[in-house]
């Protein structure tokens, strides 16, 4: 910014104080990092519920998998989609995407994950693609 030149006076004193405190403040930073950050950035998941399969900005198709559910294993709480076995954990949010029926999208459950239904999966770890952070599933096969 070009409001003015930075003031020179007081800088050295500030620097000394800053140096003296730096180590203790690093403790603060480390503690902050442990407690709060960097928490994995997540989308505001609640409005995500209303975005139809394949339309999530910046995510769909690049960071998610979209396709038909091939198998469902309720005992292991796993589904297969695109040949990939995906864990559905207690943290996984499941939404019924009924937008094609012009109905409101609602919260679903594992029972809504059925073979042949179209679904979109976002992973907790986009690189490893092991467990789902959220799954959107259409209510009817091909729907």
């Amino acid at each position: 910014m070009s409001w003015s030149n930075s003031r020179g006076r007081g800088r050295s004193a500030d620097k000394e104080r800053s140096t003296a405190l730096r180590s203790s403040l690093i403790v603060l930073a480390a503690a902050a990092a442990l407690l709060w950050g960097p928490a994995a950035v997540e989308g505001q998941m609640m409005t995500e519920q209303f975005i139809p399969i394949g339309q999530s900005p910046g995510l769909s198709s690049t960071h998610t998998d979209i396709g038909e559910i091939e198998t469902v294993d309720p005992a292991a709480r796993r589904i297969t989609l695109g040949g990939r076995s995906i864990a559905v954990t207690a943290r996984t949010r499941i939404w019924l995407d009924r937008s094609a029926l012009r109905q409101a999208n609602v919260t679903g459950g594992f029972a809504d994950l059925r073979q042949g239904r179209r679904a979109e999966v976002k992973y907790e770890d986009a690189a490893r693609r092991v467990s789902a952070e959220w799954i959107k599933v259409a209510p009817e096969p091909g729907g």
């Binding site: 910014m1 409001w3 003015s4 030149n5 930075s6 003031r7 007081g10 800088r11 500030d14 104080r17 800053s18 405190l21 730096r22 203790s24 403040l25 690093i26 403790v27 603060l28 930073a29 503690a31 902050a32 990092a33 407690l35 709060w36 950050g37 960097p38 928490a39 994995a40 950035v41 997540e42 989308g43 505001q44 998941m45 609640m46 409005t47 995500e48 519920q49 209303f50 975005i51 139809p52 339309q55 999530s56 900005p57 910046g58 995510l59 769909s60 960071h63 937008s99 012009r102 109905q103 409101a104 999208n105 609602v106 919260t107």
Partner: protein, 458 residues
């Protein structure tokens, strides 16, 4: 005395005809004035501006600009709300029966500029909601990035999709634009297209300050200068640790390079006697980042703070002095962030009244300097614009100038600068109305802005 000369009918019209023709010619020339074509980025920003202020996404009539008012620093305050007509789209919960329940709280909106958010889910609309202020959208280019990814909205998790500023508009349409609370895409609204999201992002990033400051500044006023020292002093104000250079990012000397915007639980939710609570209206606790939340909120920029109150995510503090004083209180010093500060530095924040006012004076002067920068940029911009658009730009320059006047007056600061700013405002208003003298008046207004700035900083 006017001579009593009889004129033939229509002679006055004939006498004025050459002048009329000349004026019409000039108007036609102005209308046909060739403008250089916009570059790709400028065109995208212009498109985003159009969408921001005019696109309703086939919803309830709101646009982005309904809550992020250009005339109110792209935020929303109770004082501004009081000026709006009853049929403004902001009040859609009062005019659309389908949105009468569980969409907004009109009382809290009008009194405290609080907007209802279903941050933790839409399954229990009657009970599961938060009441939050409208954060301004200035200087977003300096405040969204963090080492952990983009931070948007009050708690850093305001956007669906990839959580980016680009995706933010999609979530905003779903939360704030629907015709009914069923929120069915294609029925209650349409989602923004990729092209619209690109344009909206470009426009938002173009707003306000584009660079971080480099503190300390050579301030002229002794109180603001002392406030700056306290702000930067890691043993006293400790402000700069989380608001480096009065911005929204952690001090890289402490948090490491590229830490960017950070989330903290500073205890704002624990403040006693919060204005919204005093009404008796239901105001559930806000758990901040994530679902369920971890109690943290992201760090806002401070340069633009003084004229964008009320402060904090719940608009719980009205004045910049009160916002600084918050860090002296039990709510902060007992919070997780306050406890960490005590653990790391041996003490919390404990400023006396004069010191609180000095830090606030510093923030007021920073804000006024930013107002002057923005007004000057708008004045310069208006020189290249056609009459109508130029007038609009000049009116925004007037608004920036008025903000500077009020921000300084609110702290009893720099009365001499205020005189120059008042003259700049007068000249800018005159320029907005003038066709032939706009250039001269605009130049004079810029000179007054420069004089005002010179009163504040070396």
């Amino acid at each position: 005395m006017v001579p009593n000369v009889r004129r033939r009918p229509g002679s006055r019209v004939l006498a004025a005809a050459p002048l009329l023709v000349l004026a019409l010619l000039l108007l036609a020339l102005a209308a046909c004035e060739s403008r250089p074509p916009l570059g790709p980025e400028a065109a995208l920003i212009a498109e985003g501006r159009e969408i921001f202020f005019n696109e309703t996404f086939e919803g309830n009539g709101r646009t982005c600009g309904t809550c992020h008012r250009a005339e109110d620093n792209f935020g929303l305050s109770p004082a501004f709300i009081a000026t709006l007509p009853p049929d403004d789209a902001l009040f859609v919960a009062e005019t659309n029966p389908d949105l009468a329940e569980n969409f907004e709280n009109p009382r809290l909106m009008r009194a405290f500029a609080l907007i209802l958010e279903n941050q933790d889910g839409f399954d229990d609309l009657a009970n599961n909601f938060n009441m939050r202020g409208v954060p301004h959208t200035l200087a977003l280019g300096t405040s969204v990035d963090s080492a952990a990814g983009p931070r948007t909205g009050w708690s850093g998790d305001g956007a669906p999709g990839d959580g980016s500023l680009r995706a933010f508009a999609t979530g905003a349409v779903i939360q704030h634009f629907p015709l009914t609370t069923n929120r069915i895409p294609g029925v209650d609204f349409r989602l923004p297209s990729d092209a619209e999201l690109d344009a909206l992002e470009a426009f938002q990033l173009s707003l306000g300050r584009q660079e971080e400051l480099a503190l300390p500044l050579a301030l002229e006023g002794v109180v603001a200068a002392r406030g700056q020292e306290i702000f930067l002093d890691n043993t006293l104000g400790k402000c700069n640790a989380c608001h480096a250079n009065a911005g929204a990012n952690g001090d890289p000397n402490i948090f490491g390079p590229g830490a960017g915007n950070l989330n903290f639980d500073t205890g704002v939710e624990a403040l006693p006697d919060q204005p919204a609570d005093l009404t008796g209206e239901p105001v559930p606790p806000d758990d901040g980042f994530g679902t369920p939340g971890d109690g943290t909120f992201n760090t806002p920029v401070l340069v633009e703070a003084a004229d964008t109150g009320p402060f904090f995510h719940n608009n719980s503090v009205e004045t910049i002095e009160g916002a600084v004083a918050f860090y002296n209180g039990d709510a902060f010093n007992s919070s997780p962030a306050g406890a960490l500060l005590v653990g790391a530095t041996g003490s919390g924040i404990n400023l006396d009244g004069t010191q609180v006012v000095a830090v606030a004076a510093f923030l007021r002067v920073l804000n006024a300097l930013e107002n002057i920068r923005a007004a000057t940029a708008l004045l310069e911009q208006s020189k290249d614009e056609r009459h109508g658009l130029g007038r609009e730009t000049l009116e925004l320059a007037v608004a920036e100038t008025e903000d500077a006047i009020q921000v300084l007056a609110g702290g009893g600061l720099h009365p001499q600068a205020a005189i120059h700013l008042e003259e700049a405002r007068r000249l800018t208003r005159k320029a907005a109305r003038s066709f032939f003298q706009r250039g001269r008046l605009t130049r004079q207004a810029i000179e007054e802005q420069e004089k005002a700035r010179d009163e504040l900083v070396e």
